[in-house]
């Protein structure tokens, strides 16, 4: 943040003074043009802009150049050229909903998120928040996000984090609004400027699926004869602000769990004595929010034999914020023998760990393009699969995909660790044939215990990395890191590049810099002109009287008419 731009200009003047030169003058001309001299420069994150089958959604503009107002604006004011600055903690959701639903004209919207959610400064100030406040914040953010994502908003909408400068500006704007004057060009106040290029379509967004393969102990020859267990988590996110969609719970928790499970089984599989007679397939899939398009592509790329060798697949989705109940979502009826087996395995382990696992069955409608759970992509290809999640009902499209409110403070490490134990233990019992027996393979304090610092570290990294699939680079550092991590724990890793197909189109410019200028009003300048004019007149009169005398001054004004008289 650049503070008090006036200071820099002032310093420039001093440099000039000390240099006393025309060369410095030219130099200053060059440098000053580059220097922004705004009261504050803030990082802002734009509301996502996307089309579904050509229907526009989100904020359709990026450039902003309007005076600021707060929520205390006078009711008669015309807001069509005004940016409303709204801190989320004071958000009146019905007001915003009304404004967006009635498509009333606005210059722009600027939401301020509490510093607590700033992933760049994670863990700095969460202590001051009550759990109640955090829950409230989460609900409000969730509501706001749902509202703005599904609306077509013809003006720019930005998100930023509160800080001292912002709060000072906001207090000032509120004070101005309280006096009842609308902020326009004639009254001064603050002007908010974002100069961003016109948002462009992201051309053919690529999605990357990362797959790791841990082969089991082969009995006689062919590995492919061994059955396979797949553990899958989708890793990308979607949210109101793509540059803020870190998705700690959805699906950061799933990724962390998958990596830790891969680590635990790699320990077991590195020793031939404990190497199971099952292959393990780990998949980090992309395009999760878009009907699990990445999972679909990934499964299609398998050959028939591999697909048939999959005994079952466990998909991990949002397992980082629950208390004592997890859900297993399946799309085959619970009476199905395989489903029964999986569920019993899981619920036995859960019972030992002291919590509950419930089974939820949701039929697939093949004609409906909506895929609510990742396992449904498996089921569509007749592979037995289940999703482990804390969510009890299937989320709607583009919901629970790691948006604004899905942040590190809302995720509970112990919940993830318990989930990891549940999945690892159940799979291990299945592999080693210990179903129904009370044997703890991944017991605490053993060499095979879940490592809390590993979980914590990965969760921190993921909670700091926005990962909306269309905006990820071809060789994104995150994808490379995940690939490397999987490579450390599995035998064979590859990244599959695919094109995201379907109805989604995305637009870029997700991040920008907001300049907040304190501007003087025209009235002030007029007044200044008057003062200066009278100053010069007084100076003139004073000088004329002292050097030429009063008569001269008076004759100065008399002369023209007298001349006219003469000519006439």
């Amino acid at each position: 943040m650049e503070l008090k731009g006036g200071g820099t200009v002032y310093r420039q003047c001093q440099v000039l003074e000390s240099m006393y030169s025309m060369i410095a003058l030219v130099f200053i001309l060059v440098t000053c043009v580059e220097l922004g001299d705004a009261a504050a420069v803030v990082d802002v994150y734009r509301l996502i802009q996307y089309d579904i089958s050509g229907v526009p959604f989100g904020s359709r503009l990026a450039t902003l150049n309007h005076p600021a107002a707060s929520m205390h604006f006078s009711p008669a004011a015309d807001l069509s050229r005004t940016v409303l600055m709204i801190p989320v903690r004071e958000l009146n959701i019905t007001f915003v909903r009304e404004y967006i639903a009635q498509r009333r004209p606005l210059g722009g919207l600027l939401f301020f998120l509490p510093q607590m959610l700033n992933f760049a400064k994670i863990g700095s100030k969460t202590g001051s928040y009550q759990i109640y406040e955090m829950e409230l914040l989460k609900t409000v953010l969730g509501e706001l996000e749902r509202l703005v994502i599904h609306a077509n908003i013809p003006y720019p909408v930005y998100f930023a984090f509160e800080d001292d400068d912002i709060n000072a500006v906001l207090a000032d704007v509120k004070k101005n609004d309280a006096t009842g004057q609308p902020t326009t060009a004639t009254t001064g106040g603050y002007k908010l400027v974002v100069s961003a290029p016109e948002p462009k379509k992201v051309a053919s967004p690529t999605i990357m699926n990362i797959q790791g393969w841990l082969s089991g102990l082969e009995a006689d020859g062919d590995t492919n004869q061994l059955p396979t267990i797949a553990i899958v988590a989708s890793y990308d996110t979607f949210g109101a602000a793509p540059a803020l969609s870190v998705g700690s719970d959805s699906n950061g928790s799933g990724i962390v769990a998958l990596l830790e499970i891969a680590r635990l089984f790699s320990l077991l599989y590195s020793n031939p004595k404990t190497r199971g007679r099952y292959n393990l397939l780990f998949g980090l899939t992309s395009a999760g929010p878009y009907n699990y398009n990445g999972t679909h592509k990934w499964l299609r790329s398998f050959d028939q034999r591999l697909r048939e060798s999959i005994d079952y697949a466990v998909c991990l989705n949002s397992i980082g914020a629950w208390d004592n109940k997890l859900w297993i979502h399946v799309s085959k009826p619970p009476e199905n023998a395989y489903i029964k087996q999986i569920f019993e395995g899981f619920s036995n382990v859960a019972q030992e760990l002291g919590f509950e696992v419930n089974l939820k069955h949701k039929k697939i409608n093949i004609s409906n393009p909506r895929v609510a759970w990742e396992h449904e992509q498996f089921s569509r290809l007749r592979v037995t699969a289940a999703t482990l999640s804390e969510l009890s009902v299937a989320p709607e499209l583009l919901e629970s995909t790691g948006g604004l409110s899905d942040n590190r403070p809302f995720v509970n490490d112990t919940a993830i660790i318990r989930s990891i134990k549940l999945v690892a233990e159940s799979i291990a019992r299945h592999i080693y044939g210990h179903q129904g027996k009370n044997i703890q393979i991944f017991a605490d304090e053993s060499s095979l215990a879940v490592n809390p610092s590993y979980v914590n570290a990965w969760l921190d990294i993921l909670s700091r990395t926005p990962r909306v699939a269309p905006f990820l680079l071809k060789n994104d550092p995150l994808v490379m890191a995940l690939k490397k991590e999987l490579a450390d724990h599995t035998d064979q890793v590859n990244v599959q590049h695919e094109v995201l197909d379907g109805m989604f189109t995305f637009y870029d410019s997700t991040k920008a810099k907001l300049n907040i200028y304190q501007v003087a009003s025209v009235t002030f300048d007029l007044l200044l002109l008057l003062v200066l004019g009278s100053y010069l007149i007084v100076l003139f009169s004073f000088l004329a009287i002292t050097t030429k005398g009063l008569d001269d001054l008076i004759s100065l004004f008399r002369r023209p008419p007298s001349r006219k008289m003469k000519t006439a």
């Binding site: 200009v9 002032y10 001093q14 003074e17 000390s18 006393y20």
Partner: protein, 228 residues
């Protein structure tokens, strides 16, 4: 709107020079040539000063006040006095009285200084969206500078051009000239050594310039008396 602000600041910065020229008898005796010559001399002096500064001064990274460097800077500042001396004595002016000569030289000097130091920042900064008081203060500073330049020119003309002046006044004249010539160093010290803010510094400059102008005027009048 911001061009308006630029216009205001420009009036404040350069207006008094024009007013001074047109309100005083300077305009009646057509001393514009002298003003322009003085301005050209100022340019030359500024160039010499730049060369001196570049040769003798280290570039300080921080904005701290280094007494030795500042002393050197003040000494180099006396190049100004030499320039003024040149402008007052060596230039062949048209036959104008001493009275008008020093005013014309001081005016040209101050105007050139304002154009060099204030026009560019004004053009770049005051047209920006952000409002600061800096440019208005800078305009006021230009006013103070005008008064100081004319005072210095007046004292210079007393020192170098007037032969029959009262002996008792000579040390006072030199003292005042010294003070006026070191004003840039004094303000620089106030700003960086004592950390004064711009409004306070400008206020101080305005005040001292008026005081020095009054003293110089009195001295000039005192020197005038015997001859009259």
């Amino acid at each position: 709107m911001t061009v308006f602000h630029f216009f205001n600041c420009a009036i404040l910065t350069f207006g008094p020079h024009a007013v001074y020229y047109s309100a005083t008898p300077l305009s009646e005796y057509d001393t514009l040539g002298t003003c322009i010559k003085a301005a050209l001399v100022y340019l030359g002096t500024a160039l010499v000063k730049l060369v001196c500064l570049a040769t003798f001064l280290k570039v300080s990274e921080n904005e701290s006040f280094d007494p030795y460097q500042e002393l050197l800077k003040a000494l180099i500042g006396f190049v100004d006095v030499a320039g003024l001396y040149f402008a007052l004595t060596q230039l062949t002016h048209r036959n104008i009285s001493q009275n008008h000569k020093f005013q014309a030289v001081g005016l040209g000097w101050a105007f050139a200084d304002s154009v060099l130091h204030r026009l560019a920042p004004l053009w770049v900064g005051a047209r920006g969206l952000e409002f600061t008081w800096d440019y208005i203060l800078q305009g006021l500073e230009a006013n103070a500078n005008l008064v100081l330049s004319i005072s210095l020119a007046a004292l210079g003309s007393l020192m170098w051009l007037r032969k029959n002046k009262p002996k008792t006044l000579i040390p006072i004249i030199y003292l005042c000239a010294g003070i006026v010539a070191t004003m840039p160093s004094i303000t620089s010290y106030l700003r960086r050594g004592l950390g004064w803010h711009l409004p306070k510094v400008v206020g101080f400059e305005l005040f001292t310039s008026l005081v020095m102008a009054f003293i110089s005027w009195q001295l000039f009048a005192a020197c005038q008396r015997p001859s009259a």
